[in-house]
Symmetry: C2
Subunit: 370 residues, 2 copies
């Protein structure tokens, strides 16, 4: 595995060198993990002018970390002494020691105060902006990364499937969410990919709803959104069910609408498709039915080492999909006071010749009455 | 409750005005919550030159939020339109509209990239540093805040007490952690205050240990650290137990040592005590027993709307405790390969005349063999 991380660092080094910077400081935890295989709390990665100069700097602490086991064993590590302060500051001093005059830093991650402390600690070192170079490298996944996402999706499908077999009426959103998270871990997840959302009745269909003490009632819509973290890779699945023997007409109608929007989004996933065209494919179906006013900012996003990463599938997003980019497609409608529907899948963009978009979250999208 | 938040904003406004800034932009979520009663995701607070000018700016989103119910209902709110971008940018434009020439921002929270976007959006507006002004206001708690912490501690005590009555041998760290988190919610917590740590055998005694699949075995030390979030206020309790009928001699010895260090820390809590003296009281007992090499950076910290806030009880910390400051006291020793002990309480600093430090987490600190 070490070679994978070393190759990723080489790609980053090449980008930096092309921009005239001899070294780069990576501070964003998901980016550190992408380039090293691990992300000990507070650690930063200094990518030097040649491979031997790369070093992971860790804060003072007597603690180990379960992720350490997957850390690139070839990469040099340096642990700061007690009272040694911010590893990013130590990295800036090291970079100056290389004779580097330019150090590219992640200006979208470093705070103004922290950036200033680097300038103070390493005068004469010119700080440039690495910008989202590592995030850009992360957009297209390799097959090992996709394999992790596939397992994460299987785990989420299993957890959700078990929930559907249990009695739901009378249980609170909070308890259902906790039970789902326990089941994720039971099935081998390292944890939940993000806080599990369970929304009942008037809460249903809200994106990112935080579970409350409301109990499931007959006639409710129940929308659930969960995901597993498997070796750092995070997937997402969302489904909406109806509680009781038969859904009401308005529920069937709304469900079919969101289902159609979600299908349109899924079917528009292809290498070369504009991000905003995928968003529009789903969004225009909801807009045409009069739901533009309650629309959400995006109808999907990339997933990987973070649950919400590039690309963003939104009206103003610029760019085109590539093959091997995993994204969610997750339109929804929430009618204030009544509830709503969300349907959310994780898929991998694939060439038409390879069978088109690969659906990772395979739980049925039929409207189930539970 | 509105008046509490309005008064807090007045104190902040006074500080800003004294520093020559007519307005302040608060972006750190815990600080927004302290000043408004709620913290909708992505919201920022603009504190204007007079109370009527204060406004909470929220990102475009059709979603509500359970915390909204506690939001100061007098405070003006503004929701950005879809595609309206960063609320902080909108706040900077508003501030320029006040005729404010100086806007104080949280440079320890804003990234370099976000700070630059404010400058670009509101040319002519001078950005100053609010620094940790809100964090400083937050250090001393009022009795309502302490009441929330007291309830949070009771919940954590209950969850821990129930765990001790169940069978532990053979269960994994992950499952015990999930069960504790479920029990926290059962007893009325809004959630866990931080990821629950359960550490068995060789993992025991590690600060912030992330639960693994290791199972509890006879003869293990078992250390547990958990906390409840109650209305945003977060407490912390940590205990170490021994599994089986009788602890080994080295376990008793190590436990007594950490217990003595923790007691020394607790007993040194008093208004006027230097932060570092509290740290030293606990630390010197561990150092004298030969554990300086495995020492952790701090032996305690403030708690409140964040689980780790000011003050830091560490060797280099500057400052003195006040009455009504809640802190943890949590020394520990971890012997690599063998395990260790941590004991962690949340207490409120009180005057001697008021009975001295108020212990919020009351679970016994006797060495229990389970």
């Amino acid at each position: 595995m070490s070679q994978v991380y070393a190759d990723r660092r080489i790609r980053l080094r090449d980008r930096c060198a092309a921009a005239g910077n001899a070294a780069a400081l990576v501070s964003r935890p998901a980016n550190v993990r992408y380039l090293t295989g691990g992300a000990p709390p507070g650690a930063v990665l200094l990518v030097g002018p040649e491979p031997g100069a790369d070093v992971l700097l860790r804060p003072a602490s007597a603690e180990g970390d379960p992720l350490d086991g997957r850390l690139d064993e070839v990469l040099r590590q340096q642990r700061l002494p007690l009272g040694g302060g911010d590893p990013a500051v130590a990295a800036a001093r090291l970079a100056r020691g290389f004779g580097a005059d330019g150090l590219a830093v992640e200006e979208h991650d470093l705070t103004v105060a922290r950036h200033r402390s680097l300038t103070t600690a390493a005068p004469g070192l010119r700080l440039a902006d690495l910008s989202c170079a590592v995030e850009q490298l992360r957009v297209v996944k390799d097959e090992d990364e996709i394999a992790c996402l596939r397992i994460a999706a299987e785990i989420a499908d299993q957890a959700l499937g078990e929930l559907l077999e249990s009695i739901l009426v009378g249980r609170t959103e909070r308890h259902l969410a906790l039970e789902l998270e326990r089941r994720l871990v039971d099935h081998g997840a390292d944890g939940a990919a993000f806080p599990t959302s369970v929304a009942t009745g008037p809460h249903s269909g809200r994106r990112g709803h935080r579970p409350t003490d409301r109990r499931v009632e007959e006639g409710d819509f129940l929308s659930v959104c969960l995901g597993a973290d498997y070796r750092g890779y995070r997937c997402e699945i969302g489904r909406t069910f109806v509680i009781g023997t038969a859904p009401a007409d308005w529920q069937i109608e709304l469900y079919e609408l969101v289902f159609a929007a979600q299908r349109a989004g899924r079917e528009s996933l292809a290498p070369g498709a504009e991000y905003r065209d995928v968003d529009r494919a789903a969004r225009q179906i909801l807009d045409a039915a009069g739901h533009a006013a309650t629309a959400v900012p995006l109808t999907g996003h990339g997933v990987g080492l973070e649950i919400d990463e590039d690309p963003q599938l939104s009206p103003s997003a610029m760019g085109k999909l590539d093959a091997c980019v995993p994204v969610t497609v997750e339109p929804g409608v929430h009618l204030p006071g009544r509830g709503g529907v969300r349907i959310d899948d994780t898929l991998v963009v694939r060439q038409e010749a390879d069978g088109g978009p690969e659906l990772l979250t395979i739980t049925t999208k039929e409207l189930l009455a539970l």
